[in-house]
Symmetry: C2
Subunit: 221 residues, 2 copies
């Protein structure tokens, strides 16, 4: 079955990933069918939204029965291209880059880290788990062989845009930026951002709003 | 100046963190004032949105001049409680938890990791950087002394909800969940989710849509 050619909006794609995870769990537990109402109870996403999202893919549950778990799981896996290896390169072999290699290297997913790059000559040539740290200056040349399509940016903020440009030149078509700064990419390249410091800063604000401390709050004024 | 008592919507808070970062950069570069149009050019957020967000805080730029960088930086830092130490505990001393300790431990921020916990007896008592890995069964008792208000969940999916419940009981008021699963918390506790596998899965889908490969795509069918 050919993947649907319609473009699915990015927020929908983000939810598809959640549906996929639930369906994997249900399939592993031997559950045969699931209704949008049952999915709502598990995920906290309204059943109306779930039905709309899945209708983007041409999938419709049967009234009173629901969705066939194995069929929907197969469709989602295929549409999201998670039925094949996805090759990933990381630029930046510092604390975060090293952590990502260790973490993703052991996670049981289709994402395979095929290269890690740095510009620090004291790091280049050293081994990180089973990967040799490579010279970022050689990224274009090396990725012509590695053929990774996903790139992770794990360098300091001031180097992030330069690295993004380099990844795009090297044929990378989707970037996950971990650097605490905004980077831009040309149309036709996908970009998402994981910003740990920012997440903590948002929580810092929310802490002050979620559970008031009348005593200490007054003491500050 | 007392922080504004109005509740700022969470998407606005997420943008405040971006404004803060830009203002820090401008202040470091000695820039005295910045207009919402200049901020738009740097951040890709419309100047109308920026003005609306900042008006939530009672901050209004002066027409033709803009915002005073130092003043706005001070206000945002205060409102987001980034003018004081924020104490953080991590549950899970596996690859990801260890990486978070290493990464956040060296980042120059107000977030201070004061404790890391695990349930694995072969890990408890070992040192991770300068922190001893502690028994998660003792979290309630120990956090009464550590007084952390932010908790990071870095355990496998199947243990995440149990850990979230424990963190809430221990007085944690804001949780950043790194486990690849949905967890729920009571009203009054803030929760955000960083899900690396999910981000990669979303990119996997977007890769297939952003830059078609007509040759190989045909070959698959």
């Amino acid at each position: 079955m050919a993947p649907t050619s319609a473009r699915v909006p990015e927020p929908t794609v983000a939810r598809l990933s959640l549906y996929l995870r639930l369906l994997r769990r249900l399939a592993a537990a031997g559950v045969g069918t699931v209704s949008s109402a049952q999915m709502e109870a598990q995920l906290g996403i309204t059943s109306a939204q779930i039905r709309k999202d899945l209708s983007h893919l041409g999938e419709f549950g049967r009234p009173g029965i629901g969705y066939d778990v194995e069929h929907l799981l197969g469709r989602l896996t295929e549409i999201m291209q998670l039925d094949r290896e996805q090759r990933v390169v990381i630029v930046g072999a510092g604390n975060l880059g090293s952590a990502l290699v260790g973490y993703l290297g052991f996670a049981n997913t289709v994402f395979r880290i095929v290269g890690i790059f740095d510009n620090n000559f004291s790091k280049i040539g050293r081994m990180l788990w089973s990967l040799e740290i490579l010279d970022v200056q050689r990224l274009l040349e090396i990725n012509a062989e590695l053929r990774a399509s996903i790139g992770l940016i794990a360098v300091p903020a001031e180097a992030a845009q330069e690295v993004a440009d380099l990844l795009v030149k090297a044929g990378i078509r989707a970037i996950l930026n971990f650097a605490p700064t905004v980077v831009t990419v040309p149309a036709g390249v996908a970009l998402r951002h994981v910003d740990l410091t920012r997440e903590l800063e948002i929580l810092s604000y929310l802490v002050s709003r979620t559970a008031p401390e009348p005593q200490s709050a007054r003491a500050r004024q």
